[in-house]
Every structure is written in structure tokens, then in C-alpha cells.
Amino acid sequence: MQIHLIDQTFSHAILAAGGINAPHIPGLGSLSNSILVALIVTTVILLFTRMATRKMALVPDGKQNFVEFVVEFLYGQVEEIVGEKVAPRVFPLLATLFVFILSANWFGLIPGVGTIGFGEKVGFLMIDPDDHSFVPLLRPATADLNMTFGMAAVFMFMWVWITVKETGVIGFFKHVFAPKGGLTGFMWWALLPIFMFVGVIEIISIMFRPVSLSFRLLGNVYAGETLLHSMGNIGALMGMGEWPSRILGVLVPLPFYFMEILVGLIQAIVFTLLCAVYVQLSTAHDEDDH
């Protein structure tokens, strides 16, 4: 296989980012293109935050001001959901997830991500339209199940730790299985089987949380990528000539880029918001606990 770079405007209809799988980059061993992007995004985030927070002052400069604004805003939102007590413990994780997902989502919209890569050359900066072995050099990190499931797994691990820390193991099981609403005496025993059953459903629901979190994010980002690729190749798909296809390939995806910017933000919010709600649900104390 010859290796050539291609550009989006010259590419033909291909699956977004070369398919749902995140393939290894040729010549880089087991490093997949999504891991590479995750590393790049990580580096960018860390460099920026390091620059912004290295010389912190009471009167902040532009970068520090921006980072402070983001942190203060996110902390306010998290505190509103999980409460004043749990917020300091859970905020760093939720903020990390939000910042990382948002950065990864938007990084995926940079022209070239998912479209520049390795494949069979058939012309100047063009690959074979039927070549399914095309390997993009860069792929949106959140368009890879390994990454989204990894984030969900990290969250669930921290969720268990925070919940146990906050309520204790017995408290957690009591919270899930025991009758709620301040019931006592006969009513407590009478409703116990029902609440036990509901508890089992709750446990199943908890077990599916990482699945729902990861697949929701993956689905949205991957669908967005596919949409952009399809719009970029709409001229070729409709059988137009080379130059009309190229012009349409630039113009048609533009509105969808703006939409995907919004989708990237919304998906970061949804993921983080759900995580915050899960924490709140498991750490909220019943009235009779007080």
C-alpha cells in the first residue's frame, strides 16, 4: 500500500474518520489515531492551563481570567446539582470530563481531522473512492468507543468511591433497597419487597450508565463526523464534475460545521450533567437520615 496525504476537499465519499473503528496509524505500532488525538488534546489542555495558572495574580491577565471564568462557572453549575458538601470532591473530575470532551469534540472539527490519512493514491492528493483501507491520521477522540467508554469507566470508578465515601457501603445499599419517604413500622415491612425489586432495577440501571454515557457521546460525535463527510462529498455523491464537487465540498458543510460546534458543546454538557446527576442521586440523603 502506498501512503499519500489527502485533503478533505479532494476526498470522495468515505465513512467518517475511516469507519467506527479507530485503526492503528501505519508505522506507529499500536498507537491508534484516536489515542494520538487524545494525546494532542491532552497536551494542548495542559499547556494552556499551565500557561494560564503558572503566574497567578490577584488581578488576572487574559488567560488566567478565562480559566478562572470557566472554573468558576463550572463549579457553580456542579455545586448547584450535587450540593455544597460533595461539590469540592467531585468537581475536578466533572470539570476534567467537560473540558476534555469539549476540546476533543471541537478538535475533531478542525479541517483535516478524519480526512488526511493513508490510502491508495489515484490522483493528485486523491485516494481511491472505493478504498475502505483508508486510515485517517487524526480522528476525533470522542468518536472512538474506547475513549468514551474509558471516560465513562473512570467516572463510574470515581462515582463508586465518592458514593461510598459519602454514604458508606451500608448507606448505599440502604439508599438503593430500603423503603424511602420516612416509612416506619408495618408500612416499612409491607413495602420492603417492592423497594427491593426497585433496587434491583436501580442496580441494573447503574450498571448500564457507562454504556449509555459512552454510546450517547460516541453516537452523536460519530454521526456528526459522518454528516460532515457526507456533506463534504455531496458533489461526488451526486455525480457532479470535479470542480463543482470541490466547490460544493467547501460550501455545503459550512452550516453543518456551526451545528457540530453546538453539538460538541451540548454533548459535553450532557455527559457532565448526567454524571453530576448520578452523583447527586447517590449522595443525596433522605430526609429521615438527618
Binding site: 467506527i20 487524545a38 472554573v71 477522540a141 473512570v154
Partner: protein
């Protein structure tokens, strides 16, 4: 389940790599970004609270100072009014004393003047009597052609003085 995961490209190695990346981002951001930023926000919040507290303290001190100033002004006004009244009273008293002193002095001056005038008058009268007596003696001596002795002169003087003392 395995087939489903394969379909979506899930592999344990990549999954673990991504988990490690997320953990690294989480740890570094917590230590170098969220921690310092939260500390800075807390520091700023504390300073603002301190500033507000100081402002409140300064405001209270200002109010206290204004009250003190007002109190001092009131006291000064009262003192000034009292002093003015006292000064008026004092001035009246001094004026009265001075007037009385002036009247008294004027009376004394008038009395002295009267006394002096009286003395002068008496002195003049004495000189006049003497001169008149001498004149009468000279005239009597010339008219009578007689040399008057001391006894005659004394008698004529006394008679003349008695006549003049009218």
C-alpha cells in the same frame, strides 16, 4: 457482547490507554489547574469579604467621627454662644465701670478746677486787696502829705480790705 464490542472497535489495550490518558488529564488538571484556580478564587473572595468588612468598619468609623464632629460643633457653638453672652455682659459691666470711673474722674476734675479757680480767685482778690491797699496808702499819703507809719498803713489796709471784700 464480544461481537458487539468488536463491531464498535472496542479493544482492551486501547481502552486502557484511553483510561490512563483520562486519569493523567484528571490528575494534572486537578493539581495544576483547578486547585490553584479555586485557591485563587477563594483568596479573592476572602479579600473581597475583608474589603467589605473594612469598608463597613470605615463607614462606622466615619459615622462615629461625623457624630463626634457634630457633637464638638454643637459644644463649640454652645461655648461660643455662652462666651458671646459673657462677653456682652462683661462689656456692659466694663462700660458701666468705665462710665462711672469717667464720671467720677470728671467730677474730680471739675472739683479740682473749681478748687483751683477758687484759689486763684482768692489769690487774685488778695493781690487786688494788697494792691488796692497800697494804692490807698500811697494816695492817702500824697493827699494828706503825711508819712504814714506802719500802724497807719496796717489800719488803712484793713479798712480797705474790709471795703473791697464786699
Amino acid at each position: 457482547m464480544g461481537e458487539l464490542l468488536d463491531t464498535f472497535g472496542f479493544t482492551l489495550g486501547k481502552f486502557i490507554s484511553q483510561v490512563i490518558i483520562i486519569f493523567i488529564v484528571y490528575l494534572i488538571l486537578s493539581k495544576f489547574a483547578f486547585g490553584p484556580v479555586m485557591a485563587m478564587l477563594e483568596e479573592r473572595r476572602r479579600r473581597i469579604a475583608d474589603g467589605e468588612a473594612n469598608l463597613e468598619k470605615i463607614r462606622e468609623q466615619m459615622e462615629q467621627a461625623e457624630a463626634n464632629v457634630q457633637q464638638m460643633l454643637d459644644k463649640a457653638n454652645a461655648d461660643a454662644d455662652r462666651l458671646i453672652v459673657e462677653a456682652k455682659e462683661s462689656a456692659e459691666s466694663v462700660r458701666e465701670q468705665k462710665t462711672q470711673a469717667a464720671i467720677s474722674e470728671a467730677g474730680q476734675i471739675i472739683a479740682k478746677a473749681n478748687e483751683a479757680a477758687k484759689l486763684e480767685h482768692e489769690q487774685l482778690m488778695t493781690e487786688l486787696k494788697r494792691d488796692f491797699g497800697r494804692l490807698v496808702i500811697d494816695t492817702t499819703g500824697k493827699v494828706t502829705g503825711k508819712v504814714l507809719d506802719d500802724k497807719d498803713q496796717e489800719r488803712i489796709n484793713q479798712e480797705t480790705a474790709g471795703q473791697v471784700a464786699l
